[in-house]
Symmetry: C2
Subunit: 739 residues, 2 copies
């Protein structure tokens, strides 16, 4: 590809970006779009009292939102959107910092060196192949390779220093978050699974006896988790009928009731009359061991949530092996109530390891199947192949603009579209895996998508561009560095356009919320509903984090090979920082807290990117015959690995666990202030179990449904939504007729 | 190699074996060898009252020891030699069982199938190449491959069932061992390292304050670990002088005092007057914070042993993260007193991770350097190459007997001799690694030697026998199965002789204790000492376990490829079972208990062997064009991996940790029987720290020195021993002169 084709692609994208951003600044001012653009604020019911007045200003694009997003403090973001948002935004800050340094060094020092690598007279710049800007332009044994080696050193050292600072900063933030936040019932609870059944004792008593016996001083109470049995089915039906009734009532008569339902802050509906009724019902039934229904319900109980008097006792019980058979009395720290993934709690514990292996193999299989569309995308880059595949396009392909669009822009659009199928599938895999919490499921999906992206977007694209069959490459790990070194610079143009299309364009589509906008439009204008849509989304970390990390990987690996990609990336990170700040502040509503657990994943990926960059550099220096530079790069590689190991030793456990010191201090504070009694009372009704098969806590919060990911969960729940909508419509009509 | 050459080798080894065993049965009856052959019994002072009468029977070889070794019950072995010996002997029982089945199937079914694979007229059997007995003799696409596939299924399933039974049996044994044994101070103690220093507080107070604050209910006391400072040096010197005095006194006047010194059973010398003096001295000195010596001693303190009132409290403190900085207040379960590796406790905790990485890279480097001698061994197998290397040997090489000896016997002797350098080196690596316990060091060395053996004895020998450069193979993992399938049968003859020389011969050398015999002979006959040698060895698990596991690996991988190896292996396992039983009962004295932690290593290696066998079989079936058999083998492979994962889930944690249930029950029992008070009193002087630089607890037990490995540690301590011997000799003379 020539520079001109690249500029065409950049031009298209820049104009699209400006168009979308302007569109956004207009659309957000229209009151009927408030549901789309201010979901979080609506959920917090702060935004409702704005009057729907019309002004001309509403039709003018403005940049006010950028200013608002920029001037918000980190502490404010943490308060309204949780620690995870802070971690996500710190990733952008880190990226902006490191790529400012990298761009400066590579564009002003490395790029000219590459350009003047061969002693050739340069043609007119716009028509020059982009390869002259890459390291491929250097001669073998050139002394100029020293520049690259030094640049690599500077980038790595700067990245390590910044990474260390971020890790330190975020681990401090996490500690402050734990100690500073309101008491979390999850800290007092332990999830016990795989409870041994005894024939002559109720399961309820078995649990009580065990914990009173071995943790008598700290055991408070417990709550059984019931699986769908006959008994449960009846309860479920009643519950569902009740909920339907509540929903209809709420949506028609009293919209304000929503906030009062949320007031408890722990789990949505607290101690509603129905809950009490159900508990009594269950209590009355289950005490009779001769009743076959009770026996069946007992058989189906996959576990219990056990509450302790102090946080420290709970963490001790969750970490120490309970029984001499490790498959019995399995304890885990319980997730916070809104984070529990109920439908997975019903999975028998002995299945979990099998499920993990199965989903792992499933994801790996899918990763390899996905090579097919990627290879197709790559074949589009080769014009000759394209002509052979679609002979009737020959005429069109002669126009130079069309050629530019097809080779420069279309491939990454195709890739982007096919990549949209990945997150729902990986999320499904993570659900099957058996994670007990929604945050655990999201983290697991995030890791899977990350692996997928790095493998399928980076490696397969780099390797399949060559004549070599990509599967053969896998079987020769030793040749990998030199092969990558040869292929990476060649694929620079593809990845530059990928940054433009996947990066910039996805930011635009993110801020415009295209899917919700269209849905909202149809809902209002076609079906004629005037109320706000009854849901807000939680932030899709599992799709966004891998995306940003992939761009980091691209930035690092191409930095000294093909520095032309860096300015585009830097723009992406700056724009992304503003866009995501805005979205976090206005659109998404945090349904649960991951406690910053994503940072270790980000850190490790960043170190992996650095190591990969160094390995590719090793290959380059070997190809270009520069043994001294190779030696220095090996030193750097060892240093980077040691740095990562040190960070793991120093910080990783902070993100996995809580320290005895902190928990005991917290317990003491609560004890002394007399709050402990109140916390204990709250605990007992903090966890309200939603019925099985309904996909978790969705039904717990009647109106604000948690939709994990627009594209994915919308499809799951659209049927349910339609039903509800019809019901609501019906009840409105009934109501009107009654009046 | 022909069958005749193999039989020559077997003949040499069988006669050597019979010779050595007869020699052993004679030598063991000579009273002056009791120190060599009955070290454990001498150490327990049960054997001393035998009278030195002469009878003709003493010069006749008898088999009484075999009967005695065989009829000893497992419970008795556990009582006298610890759980580890039981685990080690169970490995032999497992091997005998599985290889009885395998030998039966492979020799009577698979071997004839291989032999009649090609439709050829067989020549005279003794002169036939051994290749006709291997799977290489089968034609491509032969339907007879089904026999191999079925045999593989039977072997794998039998092995899995037996492995599962052993794991279950041993985990029950381990639980019984923990609950049944005498109270172990290690269960009440936690090793705390990386204690933060504060300027205005004594370290002693810092530790006390921290544990009283956060574990006040269960904290009992603590004991600082001091590093060699000026203060310590003086104490050390005094201590050493005292010990020398005691040693001289003991060895000359009162040999029976030894047993009284051992009476406490926890640590050798208990509350001797010197110990009290020293403690008082240290107490008096350290309370003054202005004293520069005290400050220095404080600076050098790398940690402390903290005692808790109950076992449960100790395990909780060791498993829960203590401080919000994971690099401070690092807690580990303390090893039992005799198991503590003192000199490693002085390593600052922040070095440990670096040391681990360094030793890991060191071991890997050594593994690859060792390819040189192995390649040399393999070149000896090729007669032509040998003739080229040593032209003047041509005459000798014409004799057929010499050829047989050189190709059939010498290579594995060379390999065996060079392998002798490995255990000391790996043990050194494991010491540097920073393990806090002697058992941890031994386990780590065991794993390293195991990897080393599998890589250098199995893989390098198999791969370097071919024309291919072995390092190239590493870079193409995909071709590995078919390459192994092609090469393994060819190396069958080498490994049969390896079993004969390394296996059988090492058993003979083990039972004869050649090194100790010679040392004892010189000591008695040349230097004229009449008393027993002042040390017993602890069992060298780190050399013996990898050896036995390697033979298991050979047995599995060659089972269906070249079944001729199996009878030799079966004889090895049967003989080994008797020999090691005898050695464990008579020679070795267990200095510390690993608690059966070696079994998970053994289990995993066994599963690895099975998987490797299946991978090689996959290669064979691919080469021989049998896709259905390939498919079935893949199924078997998946099944084996799932089996291993299940075992890991079910049993692995039992061997790593103790369960709350067991510990609390134990605590309660002791509490109720009133023994707890006594245990607490014992605790405070259970850990006596040996001075730094002397290599650990050796000096704690003045007479019975713990020598880990004859070949290795003897060289370390020989100088010290000589000094002691001279001193003792001097003092005897003085004593006689006085009289």
């Amino acid at each position: 590809m020539e520079l001109a084709a690249l500029l065409t692609s950049a031009g298209i994208n820049i104009s699209l970006c400006i168009l979308f951003l302007s569109l956004y600044s207009i659309l957000r001012k229209q009151p009927h779009n408030f549901g789309v653009y201010f979901g979080r604020r609506l959920a917090e019911a702060k935004f409702r009292d704005q009057v729907d007045y019309f002004s001309f200003e509403r039709l003018l694009p403005t940049a006010g939102w950028i200013v608002k997003a920029y001037w918000c403090t980190e502490e404010e973001i943490r308060r309204v959107a949780g620690l995870d948002s802070v971690v996500f935004l710190r990733l952008f800050i880190f990226s902006i910092r490191i790529f400012s340094i990298t761009t400066f060094i590579c564009v002003f020092i490395v790029l000219p060196v590459n350009y003047h690598g061969q002693e050739m007279s340069h043609t007119h710049i716009p028509e020059e192949s982009l390869n002259v800007y890459t390291i491929a332009n250097l001669k073998e044994g050139s002394p100029k390779l020293w520049v690259h080696c030094v640049a690599l050193y500077i980038i790595t050292i700067a990245a390590c220093i910044l990474l260390y600072q971020e890790y330190k900063y975020l681990s401090r933030k996490r500690l402050a978050h734990i100690t500073g936040s309101t008491p979390n019932p999850g800290h007092f609870a332990v999830l016990v699974r795989s409870i041994p059944k005894s024939g002559n004792e109720l399961l309820d008593d078995t649990i009580r006896n065990f914990f009173v016996n071995y943790h008598g001083a700290s055991y408070l109470s417990h709550q059984m988790i019931y699986r769908k049995g006959k008994l449960q089915k009846f309860v479920d039906n009643a519950e569902r009928a009740y909920r339907k009734f509540v929903r209809v009532k709420l949506s028609v008569f009293d919209q304000n009731v929503r906030s009062s339902l949320n007031r408890c802050g722990l789990c949505g509906v607290r101690a509603s009359s129905f809950q009490l009724y159900r508990n009594k019902f269950v209590d009355a039934k289950k005490s009779d061991l001769t009743d076959p229904e009770v026996v069946e319900a007992q058989k189906d109980c996959p576990g219990a949530i056990v509450f302790f008097k102090t946080r420290y006792a709970a963490i001790v019980a969750s970490q120490v092996l309970q029984s001499s058979n490790p498959m019995l009395w399995v304890t885990n720290a319980a997730p916070e109530p809104r984070d529990v993934y109920w439908s997975n709690l019903w999975i028998p514990y002995r299945q979990i390891w099998l499920r993990k292996i199965a989903t792992l193999s499933g994801s790996v299989f899918f990763m390899f199947v996905f090579i097919v569309p990627v290879a197709f995308v790559q074949s589009m880059m080769q014009l000759d192949q394209l002509k052979r595949m679609f002979p009737h396009l020959k005429g069109t392909l002669k126009t130079s603009f069309c050629v530019r669009v097809i080779t420069g822009y279309l491939p990454s659009v195709v890739l982007l579209l096919s990549l949209y199928t990945v997150p729902p599938l990986m999320m499904r895999f993570s659900s099957i895996e058996g994670s007990i919490s929604r945050s655990g499921r999201k983290t697991s999906a995030c890791t899977k998508i990350l692996f997928f992206n790095i493998w399928n977007v980076f490696f397969v694209n780099v390797l399949s561009g060559s004549v070599l069959n990509q599967l053969n490459v896998l079987t020769r790990p030793k040749d990998m560095p030199s092969m990558l070194a040869e292929l990476v610079p060649k694929q620079a143009t593809f990845f530059i356009t990928y940054v433009l299309t996947s990066g910039w364009a996805s930011l635009c589509s993110e801020i415009l919320q295209v899917y919700n906008l269209v849905y909202n439009f149809f809902r209002r204008c076609i079906f004629g509903y005037l109320d706000e849509p009854g849901y807000v989304y939680s932030f899709p970390y599992h799709t966004e984090v891998p995306k940003v990390l992939l761009f980091n990987l691209l930035g690092f690996t191409f930095s000294i090979m093909a520095p032309l990609i860096l300015p585009f990336l830097l723009v992406y990170f700056c724009l992304g920082y503003l866009v995501y700040r805005n979205q976090i502040l206005n659109v998404y509503y945090p349904k649960y807290e991951m406690g910053g657990k994503l940072w270790p994943i980000m850190h490790n990926t960043m170190v992996f990117s650095l190591v990969l960059t160094q390995i590719i550099a090793l290959g380059v220096f070997t190809i270009k015959n520069s043994p001294v530079a190779t030696g220095f790069t090996i030193l750097l590689l060892i240093g980077t690995i040691l740095f990562n190991e040190y960070c793991r030793q120093r910080f990783a456990r902070i993100f996995n666990s809580f320290s005895a010191q902190d928990l005991i201090e917290l317990d003491r504070e609560d004890e002394q202030s007399g709050r402990m009694r109140e916390i204990h009372e709250h605990l007992l009704d903090a966890y309200c179990q939603s019925p099985p098969g309904s996909g978790g806590a969705d039904d717990e919060v009647p109106i604000e449904m948690i939709l994990e990911d627009p594209a994915q969960e919308a499809s799951n729940s659209s049927q349910e939504l339609c039903d509800t909508v019809q019901e609501v419509a019906g009840s409105i009509q009934d109501h009107i007729e009654e009046k």
